[in-house]
C-alpha cells in the first residue's frame, strides 16, 4: 500500500522536475551562452568572459533600444494604470448601458491576434501621421496592457469594502479625496501587480514594435530581431539575459512590496 503511494509520489516528482527543466532550459542555456568568450554562440561555453556584456553596454544602438524599451514600458505602465483603474471602477461600481459591451471591448486584446491589432494600428497611425512616435507606441502597448490591469484591479475592487470610502466621506473627504487617501492605498498590491504586468507586456512585445517603431529607435526586442537576422553573435544572449533579469527583479520587487504592505 505505502509502497505504491511512494512509487506514485516518486513518479510525480520526476515528472514535475522534467517539466520544470523543459520550461527553464532555454533561459539557462541563454544565460550560460552569454558568458562565452567565443565569437559564435557556443553551448556549453568553452570558457567565461564578460565581453558580450561589454559589447552590449558599449554599443549606442543597443543602448538606444534599451532606453526606448524602458521609457515605453514605464509610460505604458502608468498610462494603462490610470485608464485601467478608471475602467475598473466603472465596471465594478456603476450600472450603465453597454457595460457588458465595454467589458468585452476592454478585454478583447487578450484574445485577439496581436498581429491584427498591429496591422490595424499601423494604417491608423500612418493616417494620423504619428507612426514611429513614442506616444503612439505607448498607446498601442496600453491596448494590450490594459486587460491585465483591469483584470487585477476589478478583482480587488470587488473585495474592497466600500464602507471604508463611505467612512472617509462621512468624515469630510470629498469622493475624489476618499479614493486617493483610502481606496488607492488599500489597493496598492493590485495596483503594483497591474503596473508590473503592464510593464512586462510592453517590455517583451515584439509584434507591435515591429510594425510601429522606427528602425533608428527600435525597442529592445526589435533590436534583437534585427540582430538575429544580420549577425548572430553572442550579444543577443547577453541582452536576453539582461531582459530576463529585469523581469525577474521586477516580479521580486512587487512580491516584496506586497509582503511589506500586508505586514504594515
Amino acid at each position: 500500500m505505502t509502497r505504491r503511494i511512494n512509487l506514485g509520489n516518486l513518479a510525480l516528482s520526476v515528472f514535475s522536475i522534467l517539466i520544470l527543466l523543459i520550461l527553464i532550459a532555454p533561459i539557462l542555456i541563454i544565460f550560460m551562452v552569454s558568458f562565452t568568450p567565443t565569437e559564435m554562440l557556443h553551448f556549453p561555453p568553452p570558457g567565461f568572459s564578460l565581453r558580450w556584456y561589454e559589447a552590449y553596454f558599449s554599443d549606442p544602438k543597443w543602448m538606444t533600444a534599451t532606453r526606448v524599451s524602458f521609457v515605453v514600458a514605464a509610460l505604458t505602465a502608468v498610462f494603462s494604470l490610470v485608464i485601467g483603474f478608471a475602467i475598473s471602477v466603472a465596471l465594478v461600481r456603476y450600472r450603465f448601458f453597454g457595460k457588458a459591451g465595454l467589458r468585452m471591448l476592454v478585454m478583447s486584446p487578450m484574445i485577439l491576434p496581436k498581429i491584427i491589432i498591429a496591422v490595424g494600428l499601423y494604417f491608423l497611425y500612418v493616417k494620423l501621421r504619428i507612426l514611429g512616435t513614442t506616444g503612439a507606441l505607448v498607446m498601442a502597448h496600453s491596448i494590450i496592457a490594459i486587460p491585465y490591469v483591469v483584470m487585477i484591479i476589478t478583482a480587488s475592487l470587488y473585495s474592497f469594502d466600500r464602507r471604508l470610502e463611505w467612512a472617509a466621506r462621512s468624515l469630510g473627504a470629498s469622493p475624489l479625496r476618499a479614493v486617493w487617501l483610502i481606496t488607492i492605498p488599500n489597493l496598492k498590491p493590485a495596483i503594483l501587480g497591474g503596473g508590473l504586468f503592464a510593464f512586462v507586456a510592453s517590455f517583451d512585445d515584439i509584434i507591435l514594435s515591429l510594425f510601429l517603431t522606427k528602425l533608428t529607435e527600435p525597442t529592445l526586442p526589435r533590436q534583437i530581431w534585427v540582430n538575429v537576422q544580420q549577425t548572430i553573435d553572442p550579444t543577443i544572449a547577453a541582452v536576453s539575459t539582461f531582459m530576463t533579469v529585469v523581469s525577474v527583479l521586477g516580479l521580486w520587487l512587487v512580491a516584496l512590496a506586497q509582503r511589506g504592505l500586508k505586514k504594515g
Binding site: 469594502d161 464602507r163 471604508l164 463611505w166 467612512a167 472617509a168 466621506r169 462621512s170 468624515l171 469630510g172 473627504a173 470629498s174 469622493p175 479625496r177 476618499a178 483610502i182 492605498p185 488599500n186 504594515g264
Partner: protein, 372 residues
C-alpha cells in the same frame, strides 16, 4: 407616557444635538421598494433606534440620512436645513459602521484624526484632539497601533472616537455592536449611552436586536417593509404596541382573536367562543368588530379554577421550558389556541403540572386590544 424619554439632558459637552426631520422619504431600486415613505421628527439630543427585521429598510434609511444613497423622493432636514441634495462629506454627520470600517493602512491616531485632517487642522492639534477622544473611549495609549492589532471591542471604540472627534451634532450608527459577543455588547451599550448623555448628541441607531433597542433608546421606530410601523418610547412600544407586527417583533406575545361585544370607558368585552374577556382598550371599538387581544407571557397567570381573576380560561399544560430565572409554559385552550406563560422562579408555590383544573388568566389592564 414615556418616563425616561425626556430626562433632563443639559449637554455637559460643547456639542448640542441637532434636530432631524424626514418627510416622505422613499427609495426604490428598479422594481423593489426598499423604503416607501418615512416621516419622522426627532428632537435635538434624542436617541432614536430604527428597529426591524433585515430587509425592512432601516439601513437604507440610515444611508440616505448619511448621504450615501440618493432618495427617490422625499426630504431630509437637519436643524431645519434641507440637506437632501448635500453631498455626504458636507453634512457633518458622524457615522459608525457595522464592521467598524477602520482604515487598515492608518494608525489608530490617524484614523481618529482623519476628520480633523480633512478640515485642515494642523497635525499637532489633530493629535491632541485625537488623544482626547481616545481617552473618552478608554483607549489612551493605543495611538500608534494599527487596527488589525486591536480586538473587536477596541476597534469599535476607535470607530466611535473617529465618528465623534469633529463634534458632529448628529451621529448615525449602523448595527455597531453586531459583531461583538454578548458581554462586550452590554458593556459597549452602556458606553455609548454614557457618551450620548455626556455630549448631548442626537443619535440614530440601527439594530435588529430588540433588547438593545429597549435599553438604549429614547424613541424606537419599528420598521416593517419600508415604512414605520410604530414610533414610540421603549416603554410604550413594549407595553402598548399599536399593531400586531410591533407586538410580535418586540418581546414574546400571545394573540387571541375574538369579536367586540361591548366597549365602555376604556374597557372592551370580547367574545371568545363561550368566554367573555374584559380587556383594556383606550380607543373606542364598534360592536361586532373583529379584534386581537394581546397579552405578554409574563402578564399571564397559571392557577386553579378557584382563584379570583377577571379573565380565566381553562387550559391544558403542553410543555415547559426551564430558563433558570423563569419558566416558559405552553398551554392549550379548549379551542386549540396555544399560549405562552412566563413564570418567575420564586422557589415557592405549586408547579403548574401539579395544579388540578388548570386555568390561565389575566386582569383587564394586562391585556391590550389590537385592531391592525
Amino acid at each position: 407616557m414615556a418616563p425616561h424619554a425626556t430626562a433632563a439632558r443639559a449637554p455637559a459637552g460643547e456639542v448640542q444635538g441637532a434636530s432631524l426631520s424626514l418627510h416622505g422619504l422613499c427609495k426604490d431600486y428598479g422594481t423593489a421598494n426598499a423604503v416607501r415613505g418615512i416621516d419622522l421628527d426627532l428632537a435635538p439630543g434624542r436617541f432614536l433606534t430604527l428597529l426591524g427585521p433585515s430587509g425592512s429598510g432601516k439601513t437604507t434609511t440610515l444611508m440616505m440620512i448619511a448621504g450615501f444613497i440618493d432618495p427617490s423622493a422625499g426630504e431630509i432636514r437637519i436643524n431645519g436645513r434641507d440637506v437632501t441634495e448635500l453631498p455626504a462629506h458636507k453634512r457633518d454627520i458622524g457615522m459608525v459602521f457595522q464592521n467598524y470600517a477602520l482604515f487598515p493602512h492608518l494608525t489608530v491616531q490617524d484614523n481618529v484624526g482623519f476628520a480633523l485632517t480633512m478640515r485642515g487642522i494642523n497635525k499637532r492639534q489633530m493629535q491632541a484632539q485625537a488623544q482626547e477622544f481616545l481617552t473618552l473611549v478608554g483607549l489612551a495609549g493605543f495611538e500608534k497601533r494599527y487596527p488589525h492589532q486591536l480586538s473587536g471591542g477596541q476597534q469599535q471604540r476607535v470607530a466611535l472616537a473617529r465618528a465623534l472627534v469633529f463634534s458632529p451634532s448628529l451621529v448615525l450608527m449602523d448595527e455597531p455592536l453586531g459583531a461583538l459577543d454578548r458581554r462586550l455588547r452590554l458593556q459597549m451599550q452602556e458606553e455609548i449611552k454614557r457618551i450620548h448623555d455626556e455630549l448631548g448628541l442626537t443619535v440614530v441607531y440601527v439594530t435588529h436586536d430588540q433588547e438593545e433597542a429597549l435599553t438604549m433608546s429614547d424613541d424606537i421606530a419599528v420598521m416593517e417593509d419600508g415604512v414605520i410601523a410604530s414610533f414610540a418610547s421603549p416603554r410604550d412600544t413594549y407595553e402598548a404596541p399599536g399593531n400586531r407586527f410591533t407586538a410580535k417583533f418586540i418581546g414574546e406575545s400571545n394573540f387571541l382573536i375574538g369579536f367586540c361585544e361591548d366597549w365602555q370607558a376604556g374597557v372592551a368585552s370580547v367574545r371568545l367562543g363561550e368566554q367573555l374577556l374584559r380587556v383594556a382598550a383606550p380607543q373606542p371599538l364598534a360592536r361586532g368588530q373583529e379584534v386581537t387581544v394581546f397579552v405578554r407571557p409574563e402578564r399571564l397567570r397559571l392557577t386553579d379554577s378557584t382563584a379570583e381573576m377577571a379573565n380565566a380560561l381553562p387550559c391544558e399544560l403542553i410543555s415547559e421550558i426551564y430558563l433558570g430565572e423563569s419558566c416558559i409554559y405552553t398551554v392549550r385552550l379548549s379551542d386549540g389556541t396555544h399560549l405562552k406563560v412566563r413564570r418567575p422562579n420564586r422557589g415557592v408555590g405549586v408547579t403548574p403540572d401539579l395544579i388540578p383544573d388548570l386555568v390561565v388568566g389575566f386582569e383587564p389592564e394586562n391585556g391590550r386590544i389590537l385592531t391592525s
